[in-house]
Structures are given as structure tokens and as C-alpha cells.
Amino acid sequence: MSEIPDNLYYTKEHEWIRNDGDHVTIGITDHAQNALTDIVYIELPESGMTLEDMGEFAIVESVKSASPIFAPLAGEIVEVNDALEDAPELMNESPYGEGWIVKMKLDDMSALSTLMDAAGYAAEIAE
């Protein structure tokens, strides 16, 4: 069974979003890293990039496939996890911890409530 922490928000595109007060942290879920298998490369965005809702900001490559990562909500990227450049396997080993991808300042923090909670995501991937 995939791990789905209770304190996070989720998207259908298998990303998790953590509310850190003035910004959010974004990564891919345990379910996603399992499905992707071993991640070998990530193309990371620059800090300062502004994104529309569902804007593509990174590409994750595994032995099997290449998959885009989307911004769950509109906002600006304020920090990028550069460690992934040399160690993309962190997304496999610690998807909710060291494997985080970016931090974003959202245009509207209250829009977070439109995302799925853990129970909603569990139901989504059970389908």
C-alpha cells in the first residue's frame, strides 16, 4: 500500500502539496514514485518562474517513461530542490521528505481547499 500522509493536499496528477504558512512545498506521491519506478533524471525549473494553474514546471524521467509535473495552483516558484539534480533517487527513497521538488508562493493560499485531502486521494488511486 502506498503511503498517504494525512496532513497534505493532493492532485489527480499524483502530486502532494504541504501548507507551510506563507508558501507551499510540492512533490510527487509515494504512489507516483512507485508507478514511475526508478527515477533517473529530473529537469528542474528556475526559481522565480511564475506559473498558471496546471502549468508544467518539471519533467521526471524514469527508465520507463518521461512525465511532466504540473503546478497544482497558480503562483511563483520560490525555491527549487537542487539536490535532486545529482540524486533524483531521493524522489523514490523519500517522496514526502528529501524528495520534495519545489516551494511555491501561491497567488491565493485559500485555493488550497479546492484540492483533495488524503482520503480523497486514497479513493482516487483505488479506482
Partner: protein, 498 residues
């Protein structure tokens, strides 16, 4: 006896070079461009070099060594008569710079091939320039783009692809600057017309479809899909990767497509594998002909005595540039050798190519049936499911190893590696991506019933192998299981001398 670079023992060399034509000290090269040490050519004699390459060839696996059911790749036999014709001096020894008068033989082959390819796909004009299927896709989408520019429809910015498409389709359209709209397939693995209707509009430039699709299923609704796209003002692109299943029975023109690429290295028996050389001509309907890349071969009446001397037919073949050409997509005239071999194949079989595709489909259905039957007899049906619910397939079929992965830890990759130990090339794995743990099997028309029966038997034997043993596979190949993750994370693209 192993590696050319490691075999560096005795002083001396097995090659000779002419002396430099001028005194080296007179060369005024900037210091930064001078090499500091001599190149490290392998110090091997001719027999040692021959042994090196023979040793390499013995580690090779190809269609000439065994059954090669690599789905989507159409690894068919390459008739040797093709080689005999391609190696005739008048074809093999010409240079693209030679004048047209020296090239009439080759140009006549090109011209006939353009016409034959146009006929079999229901198209009006053909270019032989692209050297791969994906380059054909790019070329055709560029032609679409110029067509829309010329007709003032630059608002058409979106290209629709089904989620079962070859990855090259969205990649080619994206390289041309189009936005990609992916639509989901229906539950039975076919086009979902409702999903298509939901995304077409004034911004629709094109739709790209493979038919039969990558699950080996014929898209029965393809004519209706063409209608929907055409009603919206868009164009239809046919990915010819699976043309081997329908050649002579129907064609993309009848299905409503505006452009198509041919994989000469699949359908028309150009040898391929290991990167080429491929050939991916495209055919288009008349409204797109003016945009094709140049040159294409046209013909006119013979105009002079001189031409009479050189002509091979009662006309003069000549390079032509289409009026609104997108330009060149390849140096010279495409992969001429591939075009000639495939022309030879096409001429050899002619209308019998209809039987070829019939047998390709028959073989795929026979093998699918043999695997399902033998799985039942052996009691291993719980290990896999079919990639799509079908009664019959076309030239290939898919199997999902998901049940075995979940209950026994046996993945599609494990089965593929187990098949290597049985002396086969593995089927395509993990494609199409809509089938989890996918094995994609395409036997082609060139295999006998005995080969298919034996493969089905051995396939079941692999499924009966215990998981632990299978995780060790392959054990009989020159290279054991490759650590793909390590290889992808630590790219080494050349031999490192030190």
C-alpha cells in the same frame, strides 16, 4: 581477444597512411588546436581486427539468428534479392553529385517508388526524403503548418493524439511548435469519439492516429474520427508504423487521412535494428503536395539527342522542387540504399503484398491463440491478462503481466529476460504505456507455424519458472541482466581510454 582498444600489445600497426603532403612545420595552427599526444589508434594487425569484429558479431542477436517478436517494430525477414539489386554497380557506386544523365536508373526507381507508395496508401504525392518514421511525422506536420499559414489559419495550434500513441507523435508535433492534446482511449482500447468531440474546435490543427493502434486493434471508428476533424477544419495524420497489418486490404486515403508516413524498414523489409538505417517517406493528398520537401523526382518528355543516349525509359527523370516546399529535411536524397531495397521488395511481390499482411495478421492471431490455449493447459492463466479485451487482433497483441507482478513478483521485464535465455529476442516491454506491465508481441508474416508453436511453449515455460530463478535471468547471454537505472544515471557514451 576482446576489445579493440584493449588489444594494444605489440608495437606496430595494421594500417598504412600516405605521408603528409606538406611539411608539418609549415602548418600554422593555433596552439590550442594542436593535440599534445598522438592519437591512440589500436595497434592490431588485419587478422586481429577481423577477429575482433567477428567476435562482436557472434555476440549479436538479429532476425538472421532467431525469432524476434519485438512488437511495433515489424522485424521481418530481409530477402537477399533486395541486396543483390542494391549492390548493382550502377546503383551502389553512384554519387549524389553526379549529373541527372548519370542517375536516370536510380531516378526511375525513385519515381516508381513514389508512385507505388502513393497508390498503396491512397495518397497523391510522395517524398522519399525522411530517413525515419519520426522524421516523416515531423515533415508531414511541418507541411500541415505551412498549409495553415498559406490558408490564413494560424489560429490552429493544437494537435490531438490518443493516449495509446507512439511517443514520437506528440514529440514531432511539439517540435513544430504545436500544443498537444491527449485524449483517453475507451475501455476496449479504441478511439473514444466522445472524448475527441470534446476537444476539437477552431484551434484544432491535426489529429495523429496509428491504425491498427498500438494495442494491435483496428480502429473501426477511424472514418468517423476523420469526419469530426475535417468538419472542424483540421487535418488527419496516419502513423504508418503498423501498415504491415493492412497493406492491400484498405488504406489511409480511404480512411480519410491527409498524410501518412511509411516505415520502409518495417513494412517493406529494409533491414533495421541498432539504429538504422531506416527510411520514413511520407505521402500526402493533393492539397499538401506543394509543401513537400525538395527534391522529389518528376518526369518530362525527352528533349535532346543527348538525353536519348542516357534515358532508361521513354521519358526523362528529373529532380524537382515543390512550389511551396518546406525546404530540405535530409541531405541529398534520403537513404537511397533503403529506398532501392524496398523498391525491389515491392516489385518482387506486387499485389501479393496483400497476402503478406494477411499472413502477418494470421500469425499474430495464431500465436495469441496458442499462448492462451497452452496457458490454460498449464494452469497459468492467472498470471496475466490481455492488454485489451479483443476477439481478434491485427498484426500484434499485448499481454499485461500485472497479476504475476502483484501476486508473485514476476514482472514483464522478468519474463522478457527469461525469453532471452530461451534463445529469443524479447517482445517489446512497457509499451504502450496504457497497459501496465505490458508485453507487446509481433511475430510478422515470415515465421512458420512451428516457430510460433515452439515460442508459445517456451513462453509458458518461462511463466512456470520460479520467481527467484527468473530474477536471475538472463544467464546464457554474453551480458547478464543490465542495471538500467545505474546506466541511465551514469551515462558513458564512449570508450574511456584512461
Amino acid at each position: 581477444m576482446s576489445h579493440l582498444f584493449e588489444f594494444n600489445g605489440a608495437e606496430g600497426k595494421g594500417y598504412s597512411q600516405p605521408s603528409p603532403i606538406m611539411d608539418v612545420s609549415k602548418l600554422k595552427l593555433p596552439g590550442s588546436m594542436r593535440r599534445e599526444s598522438l592519437p591512440r589508434w589500436p595497434r592490431v594487425s588485419e587478422p586481429e581486427m577481423v577477429r575482433h569484429y567477428t567476435w562482436l558479431s557472434k555476440r549479436n542477436f538479429g532476425i538472421d539468428t532467431g525469432f524476434y517478436p519485438l512488437g511495433s517494430c515489424t522485424m521481418k525477414h530481409n530477402p537477399r534479392v533486395n541486396e543483390a539489386i542494391a549492390q548493382m554497380p550502377g546503383i551502389a557506386n553512384i554519387h549524389p553529385h553526379q549529373p541527372e544523365s548519370h542517375l536516370q536508373g536510380l531516378l526511375s526507381i525513385y519515381h516508381e517508388m513514389q508512385e507505388m507508395l502513393a497508390i498503396c496508401a491512397g495518397m497523391d504525392a510522395v517524398t522519399l526524403q525522411p530517413v525515419a518514421g519520426a522524421q516523416g511525422e515531423f515533415t508531414a506536420i511541418r507541411c500541415f503548418q505551412e498549409y495553415f499559414r498559406k490558408t490564413g489559419q494560424t489560429q490552429r495550434t493544437k494537435v490531438i493524439v490518443p493516449d495509446s500513441a507512439h511517443g514520437t507523435n506528440p514529440a514531432s508535433a511539439s517540435m513544430c511548435g504545436f500544443e498537444i492534446i491527449e485524449i483517453p482511449s475507451s475501455a476496449d482500447g479504441r478511439l473514444d469519439l466522445d472524448a475527441l468531440r470534446a476537444v476539437v474546435g477552431e484551434d484544432t490543427a491535426a489529429m495523429m492516429i496509428t491504425n491498427p493502434n498500438t494495442l494491435g486493434i483496428f480502429e473501426a471508428d477511424v472514418v468517423e474520427a476523420s469526419q469530426i476533424i475535417h468538419d472542424a477544419g483540421g487535418l488527419m495524420y496516419y502513423d504508418g508504423a503498423n501498415f504491415n497489418a493492412i497493406l492491400g486490404w484498405t488504406n489511409p486515403g480511404l480512411m480519410g487521412f491527409d498524410a501518412v508516413h511509411y516505415n520502409l524498414h518495417k513494412t517493406f523489409s529494409q533491414p533495421h535494428g541498432g539504429g538504422g538505417p531506416g527510411s520514413g517517406p511520407i505521402g500526402v493528398k493533393a492539397h499538401l503536395a506543394e509543401f513537400l520537401p525538395s527534391p522529389i523526382v518528376g518526369k518530362r518528355e525527352i528533349e535532346s539527342e543527348d538525353e536519348h543516349l542516357y534515358a532508361v525509359d521513354d521519358c526523362w527523370y528529373t529532380w524537382q522542387t515543390p512550389e511551396s516546399t518546406i525546404g530540405k529535411v535530409q541531405q541529398w536524397h534520403g537513404n537511397a540504399g533503403a529506398v532501392v531495397r524496398c523498391w525491389a521488395y515491392y516489385r518482387r511481390y506486387g499485389r501479393d503484398l496483400k497476402t503478406m499482411s494477411e499472413h502477418a495478421v494470421l500469425n499474430a492471431n495464431y500465436l495469441r491463440h496458442a499462448i492462451l490455449t497452452k496457458a490454460e493447459e498449464a494452469g497459468v492463466t492467472h498470471m496475466f491478462v490481455e492488454g485489451a479485451p479483443i476477439n481478434v487482433c491485427k498484426h500484434e497483441f499485448t499481454i499485461s503481466m500485472s497479476p504475476a507482478k502483484e501476486s508473485m513478483g514476476i514482472s514483464a521485464m522478468d519474463v522478457a529476460k527469461g525469453l532471452l535465455d530461451m534463445g529469443y529476442m524479447a517482445p517489446t516491454v512497457y509499451f504502450p504505456q496504457i497497459v501496465p506491465e505490458c508485453l507487446m508481441i509481433e511475430p510478422t508474416e515470415t515465421e512458420s507455424k512451428e516457430t510460433l508453436d515452439e515460442f508459445a511453449t517456451n513462453f509458458i515455460k518461462v511463466l512456470q519458472t520460479d520467481a527467484e530463478a527468473l530474477h536471475e535471468s538472463p544467464t546464457t547471454t554474453p551480458v547478464r541482466r543490465v542495471d538500467e537505472v545505474y546506466a541511465a544515471r551514469n551515462l558513458i557514451l564512449r570508450y574511456e581510454m584512461d
